[in-house]
């Protein structure tokens, strides 16, 4: 019945997102000779991957003994046993290979005196199944993400990947069988709406950390991939799990990398005590992120915070050799001066736990194929990176495992596309007649809305609600109230109004469309969090306390399972955690302590 039509471009594969995961997938596809389009809201090397400072993990064993199996153990433990063990084994085994590959793509890793890749310790990474910290993080000074993105981008240029820069993907196209047929996207410079019709669609759109008011994430992280997937009927997995980084600069949210503690930084409270010694006697300041965040919040809640309002703690590196700080952590000194007004060589930096990373996402298997509720792949649909939930991070991600995730699953999703095209599993299917109707109706609604809600105000309300009702510590009544509030905000989002109706560079329209995605992520998060009546990893509930039966509030009998949120019904279903690795024995459930 559709009369509306838009231009259609055809590709073998369309990748949405030009961060680490999208660019890694694109290399696989372009080098295999597939006609590949990469869409990005910004120039590829402006993607958020640039912000990653700390490093990428791999058990290279360059500085001391290490093994992928130890890395796997740490990742399972870090995930609080919610990670799928097949995917975790896959990632940790592949790590040395993808890191060395990246080196061959031109990544300028720091070197040891013998010329090997320099490795430093990072929170939660241990040797010999949790015994003591191990040096596993490979870095390029504190510009690891930047250097990685440049190496990957150059390789793509060489492979003739076709980039569509300052294009925003709006919706997924599916047919009646559920197969994914590409995306519809908007070119900002012209306002033109175009269908990218493809055999395969790879989502690599990154995270959605901007659902929170206080976040280390850049403004671009609006969860567009999650919004598009949810609107197209794909469930979102484990969205209650958000990692709060222990050390955001108090006030601005700007991140101080864990590498600072790797180099010897110490957290102190108002009595100058190194309080992590009480919470994690072995790992101390290098314990897993959620453990450190919770310890910090406890210190603050119990009145040992610093400053006039006692609402932050201090990260101290004044005891380190200034030469080490300048050499290994130069960016950190600059950030601290500009955003906290403090030179960390002379005085400690005020820090608070800040929203940092999304563990949940579009459900995939370890091959980077998006899967439906029962685990069968959705034809033509793939995802990698922060938008995806493989699930390797489970209830809590270890630092440096995300850049690794981008490389491993970016590559794996590319390989799966190639294999699925080759086997005839997917091909260019015809578009249904009404393929553009849904998106054009959304755009038309926005263009003609009168008496509606202001985009900025609605976004702020959403962010404040998430922060207040669904933060580091979660409370039963607050969550129940939070669900009601978010559903109210959803009504405002459905009625956003923009004054600017022009075509060319209409940023008001783009921001309204981003808000359409944020609200889906916010709903999924709040509803999933309210329902999960235990504490696990980054999801910590006041009413699920530490008891003998449920250490740390974790309730394996009732809650050792993945959440799936469904947009159409705003309801949840659950699926089992995959406990069988690919080749080794199951890492059995155990209390998580550091």
């Amino acid at each position: 019945m559709s009369k509306l039509t838009i231009p259609v471009r055809k590709f073998d594969a369309v990748i949405v997102g030009a961060g680490g995961s999208g660019l890694r997938a694109a290399i696989q596809l372009s080098e295999a000779g597939l006609k590949t389009a990469v869409l990005s809201k910004v120039f590829p090397t402006r993607s958020h991957t640039v912000a990653a400072q700390g490093g990428v993990s791999a058990s290279l064993g360059n500085s001391e003994d290490d093994h992928w199996h130890w890395h796997m153990y740490d990742t399972v433990k870090g995930s609080d046993w919610l990670g799928d063990q097949d995917a975790i084994e896959y990632m940790c085994r592949k790590a040395p290979e993808v890191v060395v590959e990246l080196e061959h793509f031109g990544m300028p890793f720091d070197r040891t005196d013998e010329g090997k890749i320099y490795q430093r310790p990072f929170g939660g990474h241990m040797s010999n199944f949790g015994e003591k910290p191990v040096r596993r993080a490979c870095a390029a000074a504190d510009r690891t993400g930047h250097a990685m993105l440049h190496a990957l981008y150059q390789r793509n240029v060489r492979a003739n990947t076709q980039f569509f820069v300052e294009w925003m993907a709006l919706d997924l196209m599916r047919d009646d069988s559920g197969q994914v047929l590409g995306v519809i996207a908007l070119e900002m410079e012209t306002g033109e709406v175009v269908a990218f019709h493809s055999k395969a669609t790879v989502f690599a759109t990154g995270g959605a950390g901007r659902i929170f008011y206080s976040s280390t994430n850049a403004f671009i992280n609006t969860g567009d991939g999650l919004g598009m997937a949810a609107r197209a009927g794909v469930p979102l997995e484990d969205m209650e799990f958000w990692q709060f980084h222990p050390t955001g600069v108090a006030g601005a949210g700007v991140l101080i990398t864990e590498g600072v503690r790797g180099e010897g930084g110490i957290l102190r409270n108002s009595t100058n005590e190194r309080f992590m010694e009480r919470y994690a006697p072995n790992a101390k300041d290098l314990a897993s992120r959620d453990v450190v965040s919770r310890a910090m919040v406890t210190e603050i809640n119990e009145g040992r915070g610093c400053g006039p309002n006692k609402d932050f703690v201090l990260l101290d590196i004044t005891h380190l050799d200034p030469a080490t700080i300048m050499k290994r952590l130069p960016g950190i000194r600059e950030i601290s001066i500009q955003f906290a007004g403090i030179d960390p060589i002379k005085a400690p930096i005020p820090v608070v736990p800040t929203c940092h990373y999304q563990m949940g996402g579009v459900p995939t298997n370890y091959k980077g194929q998006v899967v439906s509720d029962d685990g069968t792949p959705i034809k033509g649909f793939y995802a990698a990176g922060e938008v995806a939930c493989a699930s390797v991070h489970g209830a809590n991600r270890l630092g440096t495992n995300s850049l690794l995730d981008l490389l491993v699953f970016g590559k794996a999703s590319g390989d799966s596309v190639i294999a699925d095209i080759k086997s005839g599993e997917i091909g260019l299917k015809e578009l249904p007649a009404n393929f553009a109707d849904f998106t054009l109706a959304r755009l038309n609604r926005l263009n003609t809305q009168t008496g509606g809600a202001n985009v900025n105000e609605t976004r702020l309300e959403l962010q404040r609600t998430m922060q207040k009702h669904c933060g580091v510590f979660r409370f039963k009544d607050m969550l129940v109230e939070g669900v009601a509030k978010i559903l109210d905000i959803e009504k405002a989002v459905a009625m956003t109004e923009i004054k600017d109706k022009s075509q060319v560079w209409n940023t008001a329209r783009v921001e309204a469309l981003e808000l359409d995605n944020l609200i889906e992520v916010a709903k999924a998060t709040m509803v999933s969090a309210e329902a999960r009546k235990e504490s696990r990893g980054a999801h910590v509930r006041d009413d699920a306390p530490d008891t003998a039966a449920n250490p740390n509030g974790r309730d394996d009998v009732n809650w050792h399972k993945h959440t799936l949120w469904h947009r159409a019904s705003n309801a949840l279903s659950y699926k089992p955690v995959i406990m069988t690795p690919l080749s080794v024995e199951t890492i059995a459930l155990k209390t998580r302590s550091y």
């Binding site: 900002m188 976040s215 850049a218 403004f219 006030g251 601005a252 500009q338």
Partner: protein
């Protein structure tokens, strides 16, 4: 390109950057300081905003010298922006 388009494109490039630090700084600058710039300074700012974050950051914090005098003026203003 008309003024509205130019500003909107600039706004996108100031507030959809790789790093939160730069979103905060450039966004604040665009709202508070940009409107009062001379035309030459405004052009210099567009060039600076088109740089990548890790290229621009050392210029902002002064760890690298900027050879262009007008850009240097704008950088001095940018350096003084304090984010909340």
């Amino acid at each position: 390109m008309e003024e509205r388009e130019k500003i909107n494109r600039l706004r996108w490039r100031c507030t959809r950057r790789a790093m939160l630090e730069m979103d905060l700084l450039l966004g604040e600058f665009l709202d508070r300081i940009y409107p009062a710039l001379t035309p030459e300074q405004a052009d210099a700012f567009v060039i600076l905003a088109d740089m990548e974050d890790l290229e621009l950051w050392p210029l902002v914090n002064g760890s690298r010298e900027c050879p262009d005098p007008v850009q240097a003026e704008v950088l001095a203003l940018l350096r003084n922006v304090r984010v909340k």
